[in-house]
Symmetry: C3
Subunit: 273 residues, 3 copies
């Protein structure tokens, strides 16, 4: 099967405008995420210019999602009580017209969360699904599964699957990898920035998913929102790596660089194709 | 309504003695807090000189609170199981005479936790309630609520409400802001230290609430305990900011400076009014 | 009672080979741990060369443990739902022949988790039990208990108890302290590296327990696995301390140094006795 998608003509200027808009509006991002990355995710949102709110209980998730600017659902450490909150958040998002992002961590490798992800997708279509290649393939129902959060399928092999998933679900699919691929089934954007240390910091991908949610609140086109989040995060990562001694100091510096990154520097550094 | 409170005459020397006492006695602080900030809170307590114990399950919270030196209840990510543990901790605190601190994160913005906070206050009076202006107004039952943890009311406007709340509940109320205001309804202390990056680090306020709990264990007057915690935390923040490149390195340096701060340097730097 | 254990003849070269093996095989380590340290634990595993997977729900814990390379069970913040997942993980570990490590945080000080630890030990013998002196004494059923995670018993006094516990349970027992003692009831290894700041970083001991689990996946002898984890972690800590200003920067640098530490440098720096 050949790609039926068009190569995107997204400009660095459009990416820069998205970051400027995020900082002007400081969107409130409700995160239902996991116990491993909640702190790093909140700090990444704050540094970039958004307002995180970790509202993940069943009593508050629904009403809050109806007034929040965006919602992130991340399946890193699901429990029955938080899964109930996720379903509630989607009801609230649906009633409030709030865009939401699904990050199906370790889908395919683990059966329960794979079925949760499918049920959430069936309940209410997200603006964006973000994952590595094996997670995206699993969500599309074609994977053999991996053993955890490490991707075992190549990004290139996942792009056709991602495009078909995007068309089937009426969503944008973002496949993280050495080059990130983002598609709505019709268009394809590649972001070539990043650094290998991103794979050595737990929650880097999870924080990227949260940034995607934040950008959906200020950029109407989810494809552009996902690309802007990816560009912002990976360009900041490149700048952070230049001054870090290892993955520990890199994670700290990444927060600094998300805060320091100007829209102009972002436009100059992003590698779109 | 005019302020009926007296401006406090708290001295830098009293603040310094409080920090010295904390390090001599290393109080055991039981924290029932949220998944976002548990790590940062524990490290802030350890760095300052206290001993954290994150005991937040229903089976252990009550007996532990009766022997701990202080208890923190933070409503950042409440769940039914942890709310049950909070009620148990207050029973233990009451039976053991253990002081406790309430941090009603996002009260007003979210209904369930606002009612939890009220129920906890009705169960057993805390030594200190710590929040931003909108949270304090919500707890006092006068707020219209915000949308999350970001304060939407001014500190100045909240001081009258805080003083009345303090008198009603027989507690100390600490209102965080550019200048922190601490009152028991009769006296008022202002602490003018701090740095804007404190608002860009998730859990900075939560860690301050934990430090307030720690100081209640070594300072009999909760007003002085709250002021000493605030002074220690915000002076350390000023010193951390001087050597940080952004909010990521600032959060790391804040832990270093909490550990390095001497009682003498604290007394010299604190701005009380 | 005199020691009935033999002083070990473990060589620095054997330790170095263990670290090399870990990096070649990158074992998948399932962690059922606590909300305070989950992030630091995952980053420590990644930096050292293992692959963390925080799978701690009841639906997925059992099947995942049967295919993971090792399992960590840490009792830092147990809840009914996660305790159920722990029992499931042990069933999976038993069926898959997966080695597991128990870290009974605050056992003795807290009754519920002490009984959980005993029940898990009765269900399926671990490869390693790791704790401080008071935790190990409590697990052996001889302690009077402490008040929290701070050790209140000396390491030396715990070694006899540890050796007896190791023989009774057919496991290795690692007692953390200024000098770490590791015994299988027959042999005893001491690792003399470390730094006082390890006691000021929350989750340092928890991360060490996770590294022990990782090394059990690549080193058949659990005594050597525990010693290799201890040596790797404490040598990295010494190197991190040299370039840190306090416990905050030390925790960051420790992750950097776990990633940077070569097998050769480890062999040169480890102090075994």
């Amino acid at each position: 099967m050949t790609h039926s998608v068009r190569e995107s003509v997204l400009s660095p200027q459009a990416i820069a405008e998205g970051l400027t808009a995020l900082r002007e509006r400081s969107p409130l991002v409700q995160c239902l995420t996991n116990i491993v990355v909640a702190n790093f995710t909140a700090n990444a949102l704050l540094a970039t210019g958004a307002s995180p709110a970790m509202v993940d209980n069943a009593a508050e998730a629904e009403p809050f999602a109806s007034v929040a600017d965006a919602v992130l659902v991340n399946l890193g450490t699901p429990y029955p009580v938080t899964v109930g909150a996720m379903a509630g958040a989607l009801r609230g998002a649906a009633s409030g017209g709030t865009p939401w992002v699904l990050d199906p961590v370790a889908a395919g490798a683990l059966q329960w969360r794979t079925s949760i992800a499918q049920a959430l997708l069936d309940q209410h279509a997200p603006a964006i699904i973000r994952g590595n290649a094996s997670e995206i393939i699993a969500i599309a129902g074609q994977g053999k599964g991996g053993r955890g959060v490490e991707s075992v399928d190549t990004v290139d092999g996942a792009v056709d699957v991602a495009a078909e998933l995007a068309r089937d679900r009426g969503t944008v699919v973002a496949v993280s990898g050495e080059v990130d691929h983002i598609t709505d089934g019709d268009r394809l954007v590649r972001v070539g920035n990043g650094h290998p240390w991103l794979t050595q910091v737990t929650g880097a991908g999870c924080a990227l998913g949260a940034l995607m949610a934040a950008f959906t609140a200020v950029i109407p086109d989810p494809l552009v929102a996902a690309a802007t989040a990816t560009a912002t995060f990976t360009v900041a990562a490149e700048r952070a790596a230049e001054q870090s001694a290892g993955p520990g100091s890199f994670a700290v510096s990444l927060i600094d660089e998300l805060a320091a990154l100007s829209s102009e520097d972002l436009a100059a550094a992003v590698r779109l194709s």
